[in-house]
Structures are given as structure tokens and as C-alpha cells.
Amino acid sequence: MPYLKSFFVVNKAGGLIFHRSFSSDPPLRQNDYLHLASTFHGMQLMVNEVSPTKGIDGVGAIEFMETSDFVLRSFYTATKVQFFVTGSPKAEKLAEFLKEAHLLYADYIMKNPFYEMDMPIKCELWDIHLRALVDKYNRTNNT
């Protein structure tokens, strides 16, 4: 049964500003998540440099990655904030999940006047709605 593993938000400078794991896989250390995020960000910049064509969203970036253990889907917004999610192999509709997460980000992060731009996200409303979105995803894609 496909399910979501982890979700990341990376700011335009390559800093990890949000991360959640949803699976029962053993967690990494917090620092490893930071490394992972900034490494991925660096890879994106390189891919963008060498990519001969630009994708539908105007940047030549990694959109999808598949391995035997997980799949990764990434979404680069025009503001250079990056969302990416990993799921178990065969997990589908990850792009749709990211677009919906982006809507929540626009609502509960950007419209929260006390959120400081580009800083780590610690917003309870966003947590709640994101959790609901993940549950909805796991429910609708498991039947």
C-alpha cells in the first residue's frame, strides 16, 4: 500500500524550514535532515544550470526521482521556495499533494503575520491542516 514518508520545505537560500516524517521508518538525526535538504537544494541549482530545457514551471529542476525504496516528488515555486515529498514506491499523485500543501503554506504560513519570512516554520494551524492533508492522501490512495 503506497503511503507518504516525509515532507520538506526548503527556503530560497537552501535552508530547511520545515520537515515532518509520517512513516514508521526509523528517523534520522535532526542535523541529517538539514544536510539532506541543503544537498538536495544544491543539486537543484546544478540541475537548473545544466538543464537544456526548462520544465512546465519555468525552471529546469528535478521533479521526480524513483528508487527501489522510495519515490520523491519536488515542486519549485516561482518564489524559489521548494517543497518536496517522499513516498513509498508506487505512491501516486504526489504532485497534487504538493500543490495542496502549497495552498496551505500560502494560507497558514504566509498569512500568519507573526511568521518571519524564511525562518523555520512553527505554526500549529499549518501542522493541523498538513496532518489532515496527509491523512486524506493516505486514505484516498490506499483503497
Binding site: K12, G58, T79, K99, Y105, D107, M110, K111
Partner: protein, 186 residues
Amino acid sequence: MSKVNLQRLGETVFQSSDRVSAELLALTYGSTVKQLLVDYEEPDEVNKQLDQMGYNIGIRLIEDVIANSKIYTISSFVDSAEIVAKVAFKMYLGVVANTVDWNSDKTEFSLQFDDNPLTEFTELPDRYSDLWYANILCGIIRGAYEMVQMKVECKYTKCVLRGDDTNEIRIVLREMLLERPPLDDE
């Protein structure tokens, strides 16, 4: 996307989003401007404050524009102008603007709109004749552009409250902010 399609998109997003009463918006904005005039006294200074407040809104609002309109690509400045005029204006003000007076390099244009819900009930007293009452819009546009890597200058040039026949905001593209590694990155 063509102008007509953008206009339709603006209409769709406008219809599907939550709205507050225009009166509440106009009154809230009015009392904000009034308070700024009390605090800063000089209309010029108030223009600046409104622009700064708008900027703070714009850098946040852009994400909402992108997420709700689902326009993930902004390929050029010319494209962006139509998105501001037909989609963003419709989404947040319920009116559609026109893009006019492009310069030959396509780096400058004016946004023209006849109706502005912010100014609907306002009459500008003579002593505040230097005030650009809805100057917050300039800041919003400037902030939003900056987040999508375009540095623009944004100035009110016509306002119906000053007796002009329409409202007009001039937008000038100053530079494309490209991400470059610093030169001494060794």
C-alpha cells in the same frame, strides 16, 4: 496564456474564493490611512508608510496568487503585467485593470483602472492633496514582484480622488534578480 484566458481565470478564482464586504475593507483601510496621517502628519511620509505596509503584504500575498491561480510560470515581464492586471487585481479588488503605455523596450507600463474599492467613499480634503490615498497598492505590487525575482519601481500617477479621470500606476522594471553565487566564494 492569452488576455481573455487570464481574464476568465481571474473571474473563476474570484468566484471561488472567500470574500469580505467591500464596506469593511474600505472602512478599515480608511481608518488606517487616517491614523497614519495623525501619526506622521506629512502626506509624503504617509505615502512612504503605505508603500512599506504594502510591501510587507505583497511579499506574502504573492504565494496566495500563485497557489490559487495555479499560474506556476511567470515567463516574462510582459506576461506578468497581464497577470497583475487581469488575475491579481480581480482576485483581491474585484476589478480588472488594463495595461497601457508600454515603452519600446517593454520594461515599463501603466496599470489603469477606473474603479477602486478602497476609494469608493473617500473625498480628499485640500490639505491632503499630496496624498496618494491608495498608495498601499504600489507597495503590494513591488513586494510581490520582488519575490518572483523582479525588482520594480511602482508609482501612482493618476488618482480619481485628485480629479483625474482614472487611476493609474506606473510600473518600471529595474532589474531581474538572478541567483548568482558570490564572486569570492572560495
